[in-house]
Amino acid sequence: MGTAAFLGDLLQALRENRRAVVGGLILTGYLLMALVGPALVPLDPTMKYAERFRPPSLAHPLGTDYAGRDVLAQIIHGSRDVLAIAFLTALFTTAVAVGVGTLAGYSGGAVDAVLMLLTNVQLTVPAVPVYLLIGSVFQVRDPIGFAALISLWMWGPLARAVRSQILSLKERDFIEAARVLGLSTFHILFRELFPNLTPFVVIHFIRIMRDAITASVGLIFLGLAPFSPTNWGTMLNLAVFQTGAIYIPNALHYVIAPMAVIVLFQLGAIFFAHGLDEILNPRLRAPA
């Protein structure tokens, strides 16, 4: 089957899966918000104390924050960094995990033992002390560094899962046939094995994006990454802990707004990942 035909089938399947469609629409909305939102809605950082915690209105659809600044503009401007960190984390994590998992599963023997030992270390040692150690040596200054830091201790579960998939796939007849035909390892890996892994990896990619958002908030407050006032997690933390908005009836919109965008993003990611799973996993696919 050609790539175009595969994509066509995929789109058709996506259209028929409501969960995937809803998830896809939500994620597309976020993508658009990050790409074009900042150009459409300017962010004025000027502090206007007298206008703090104004309720939602036409001028401020999501109200104002503790310093009288527009909450909607902060959410839109924060989306770029949040999504960039989520995407880059997923990219780095997936790349490392697929590399380690494939190498371990396909090579077997000593290579497999060493790589799985490393994976097990990563799975058993808690992430926070490692982040603290690395964060004290290297300063994180941009989304790339931030994503690299999060990825560093996130690839283990996916690497193990990929290894299992490879171990299973490499015993299949079509791989045996490829070997008998004398096809190169490169061909077997990239033309035979990886296409079969793609759906599995894509689903994990979206799940990792979702987890990265949660992890990034934690790292900001451990001081391992610069404090970004428009990061949604930071906004939520400012609302709940620093400014006490959670205790002020007039200010509840400031608590709810960042919470809602984080929850909606998670929901979109979950729907889309599950929808994809249903479409791409033959065992979950509904009979035609």
């Binding site: 950082p45 104390y49 200054r141 001081g223 404090f227 709940v240 802990f241 006490g244 959670i246």
Partner: protein, 601 residues
């Protein structure tokens, strides 16, 4: 069957099953038995037990080490916790607003230029041993051994059991404030062996003495009694992860005068937890700094809560890392000062504070008039928000303004700066964020929060550009000496690097001023007018060189509830409130001992 009616049927089925289930749980109704001869009915007398009297308690918030780490040694890390000023008591209480000294563990005292002689009260430690002058001696010996403090004390003499004489190395500007901040911590029964041993070696120099002192320090640190032995009015009864309970020390001289039976501490993990306790009416007092709207909510929801503002004798400041460029250039520091609207920072971060603008001279705002006066203040550079002045200074340094409005250094690079703030310190984080927002129009500036455990280490190690910290702080002493010591010799100087790079500075007349010598002169100067002259010299140096940019004078926000569990708080204008800065529990304890604070009827 339609889908709707199917759902309804399921709903009623579940309801019926639930009702059946609940009825099965109900006590069985006795079935009517066969008619029988009436049996005598025994009517049991219902006795309502008299409820145990509710302990008359005072509920506060504080922090402590969670058991099993908790212990009672004040000299070992993690010991005693927030119970400190309830279980330990100073010889006198100093009232900064009036300069009055109220006898506390001492019943009277006499001052001479080189000493204070205390007549001690007849009181007892919680272990039943009497309080004597030897305990005063042991406490000061161990403070010197373990903390190298207070350095001003030469020795403690004990002519008899009830007389203790504290002898200074030289006359001091404000000795009573120092004594007020040094509670009596240990009795000779438990700690005498350490004090005796330490006294042999203290004051001696050389490797042998240092080795011996280190050995004693290790022994003291390793001593971990379960609870502290109290000489103060309360003793530790129990400690858990969530509560610490103190009960009265029965041997204390004021035990009968104190109407409160116990102190209950709730765990103070962060300010917002204290806000929640106040909103729920669980606390009688705390000084959890709160944004204006939160403070308003607390006062509105708990009408018996009052808010007292009293100077904390400290200020927040923006610390510069004087070891690194461009902060090592005073012109750059001045440019930063001209780019920050400090009143905006105050509004956002600590609305109850007093803005330090337009100066940054190291004297607290509320003491400006007393120490500096209007004429002198007029001679200082005023740092109001003035981007034009900042621009002139930056251009003088060879900086250029880029098309994006951001400044470039002489190499053409647009530098990125970080402002550090301690994680969990809500007001500091908001101050950092408010400054970063203002400076972002001119530079790339971001805030970074650092865990409290590593914050001082990070600053001491010079791993920062700018940071929020206490600048000048006079905790408990109400004297500029403490602030200037902090800025040029103490903790703030270690953070900024001022200790090394600002050792000798130009004074107002262009004279060379050795800052350490000026501080020493201020320490020894008893004449108020001559003290003022030294303070003005240091104020000028501080304002013109900006080792830190003062942001605001902190005012303690003391939320206190009158008429629920306790009553009798001092009136808003009572100078006693000024005992609170530096150790608010010392203030609460004083009110209880004096019988000012009583159980609510």
């Amino acid at each position: 069957m339609s889908r709707g009616s199917s759902l309804r049927a399921r709903f009623f089925f579940i309801l019926a099953a639930l009702a059946l289930g609940l009825s099965a749980c109900a006590p069985a109704t006795p079935a009517p038995g066969p008619t029988a001869s009436p049996t005598p009915v025994v009517v049991e007398k219902v006795v309502t037990p008299t409820p145990a009297p509710r302990p008359r308690e005072f509920v506060l918030g504080t922090s402590w080490e969670v058991p099993p780490a908790y212990h009672g040694n004040p000299f070992a890390p993690g010991g005693v916790g927030g119970a400190w000023w309830f279980v330990f008591q100073p010889l006198l209480i100093y009232v900064p607003a009036t300069g009055e000294a109220i006898p506390s563990l001492a019943e009277s005292f006499e001052e001479a230029p080189d000493r204070i002689t205390f007549r001690l009260r007849q009181t007892g430690w919680s272990d039943g041993t009497p309080f004597t002058s030897k305990d005063v001696w042991a406490s000061f010996v161990l403070m010197k051994l373990m903390w190298n403090w207070p350095g001003e004390v030469d020795r403690v003499e004990t002519p008899d059991e009830r007389t203790a004489v504290i002898v200074w190395k030289q006359p001091l500007a404000n000795p009573k404030a120092l004594i007020s901040s040094a509670p009596i911590l240990v009795n000779v029964t438990a700690y005498g062996k350490f004090a005796e041993e330490a006294a042999k070696w203290l004051g001696q120099t050389g490797a042998e003495a240092e080795e011996a002192l280190n050995k004693i320090r290790q022994e003291v640190s390793g001593f971990k009694p379960e609870k502290p032995v109290a000489v103060g009015p309360f003793q530790v009864e129990s400690v858990s992860a969530s509560e610490m309970i103190l009960t009265k020390n029965p041997h204390h001289y004021a035990a009968k005068n104190i109407g409160i039976d116990r102190i209950r501490f709730l765990r103070w993990t962060s300010n917002e937890v204290m806000w929640a306790f106040h909103l729920a009416g669980e606390l009688d007092a705390s000084h959890a700094a709160a944004p204006k709207d939160v403070a308003d909510q607390i006062l509105q929801r708990q009408p018996k809560t009052r808010l007292q503002l009293v100077t904390d004798l400290s200020e927040f400041a923006l610390l510069f890392n004087l070891r690194k460029a461009p902060f090592n250039d005073v012109r750059f520091r001045k440019a930063i000062a001209y780019l920050i609207d400090r009143d905006k920072v105050r509004e956002i971060s600590y609305y109850a504070g007093l803005t330090s603008a337009p100066y940054s001279h190291g004297v607290l705002k509320s003491f400006e008039e007393q120490w500096l006066g209007k004429d002198f203040l007029g001679s200082l550079t005023a740092y109001n928000l003035d981007p034009a002045k900042a621009e002139a200074l930056l251009k003088e340094m060879g900086w250029t303004n880029g098309p994006d409005g951001k400044w470039r250094d002489p190499t053409g690079k647009a530098p990125e700066f970080e402002i550090l703030a301690q994680a969990g310190a809500t007001d500091w984080i908001l101050a950092a964020e408010a400054i970063a927002t203002q400076l972002n129009k001119h530079f790339q500036v971001r805030t970074r929060t650092v865990e409290p455990g590593v914050y001082p280490t990070t600053l001491r190690g010079g791993q920062f550009d700018m940071a929020i910290q206490f600048g000048s702080a006079w905790w408990g002493t109400a004297h500029p000496l403490t602030g200037y010591y902090r800025l040029y010799q103490g903790e703030a100087a270690e953070f900024t690097g001022a200790k090394d790079v600002m050792a000798t500075m130009k004074g107002p007349q262009g004279e060379d001023v050795n800052v350490a010598q000026a501080l020493d002169s201020l320490l020894k100067e008893p004449n108020p007018e001559r003290q003022k002259a030294i303070v003005r010299q240091l104020a000028w140096i501080t304002n013109e060189n900006l080792p830190v940019l003062s942001l605001l004078e902190k005012q303690l926000m003391i939320f206190h509830v009158d008429g629920v569990r306790v009553t009798g708080w001092p009136a808003a204008n009572d100078p006693l409130w000024t005992v609170a800065p530096g150790a608010i529990e010392r203030f609460y304890t004083h009110l209880l001992i004096q019988g000012i604070l009583k159980p609510a009827p």
